[in-house]
Amino acid sequence: MALTDAIAAHFNYWIVIILMMTGFYLVIAHPNKINKLIGLTIFQTSVFILYISFAYVRGATAPIIVEGWDDYVNPLPHVLILTAIVVGIATTAVGLALVVRIHRAFGTIDEDEIQPLLTDP
């Protein structure tokens, strides 16, 4: 019983870490730059889920005040993540613009093909 409780208490965090590591692996191992950026967004979203998990309170409701209800989840992580999501797409857009420029310069977005072009021009 104690074991299942311990698993249930941290299950969210573990899935978040698995997602985070999946994104991390894509970023460091995949040669295609667009796949790298997708890995980065997976990583970002896992962090968002982590924050919203911190905000969650069992038996509480969304932080919109109504009469006759006292338990609300923590609004502060929601605020932070709300802005982080929009900033996330802004960084993704800049990254994609860089990828398009790299493609214009080298004709490819595959890292393994760009590397030899850089060493012997």
Partner: protein, 138 residues
């Protein structure tokens, strides 16, 4: 894709509802879920739909480039301007209490105006970025 009648009719039907929903999310944000960030993206997505169906040239006829650039800068200026207005009225930067006679109304006014600034910038940036991607295809 303009030739596909289903697409163009559905897009034309959906556009006003998407824009209306964006405005609802924008101005009802203090009561229900929503606010400037979400409204901006929804507003921009209406124009993304328009560009996808009718092409970039038709979209430029409706929202020209200069307007978007004005929106990008104008939203930030509106936000910072509200902050400076608080300074001029004798309080701290971004303190909305002095914007109206009653501090509560001042806060309300401040939040609505700031969310408007956020929404303008986000909508213009997302639309302008999409225009830029589409245009560099040519």
């Amino acid at each position: 894709m303009r030739d596909n009648i289903v697409l163009s009719v559905v897009a034309r039907l959906l556009m006003p509802f998407i824009l209306l929903f964006a405005l609802y999310v924008q101005f009802h944000g203090e009561v229900s879920p929503g606010g400037g960030f979400q409204a901006g993206v929804i507003f921009a997505s209406a124009f993304v739909l328009f560009v996808l169906v009718y092409g970039i040239d038709a979209a430029e006829g409706i929202i020209p480039d200069g307007f978007l650039r004005g929106g990008i800068a104008g939203g930030v200026l509106l936000y910072a301007g509200i902050g400076v207005l608080g300074l001029l009225l004798g309080s701290n930067f971004l303190d909305y209490n002095v914007l109206a006679a009653d501090p509560k109304n001042g806060q309300h006014l401040g939040i609505v105006l700031i969310e408007l600034g956020v929404g303008t910038t986000v909508a213009s940036v997302v639309t302008a970025v999409f225009y830029a991607f589409v245009r560099s295809k040519r």
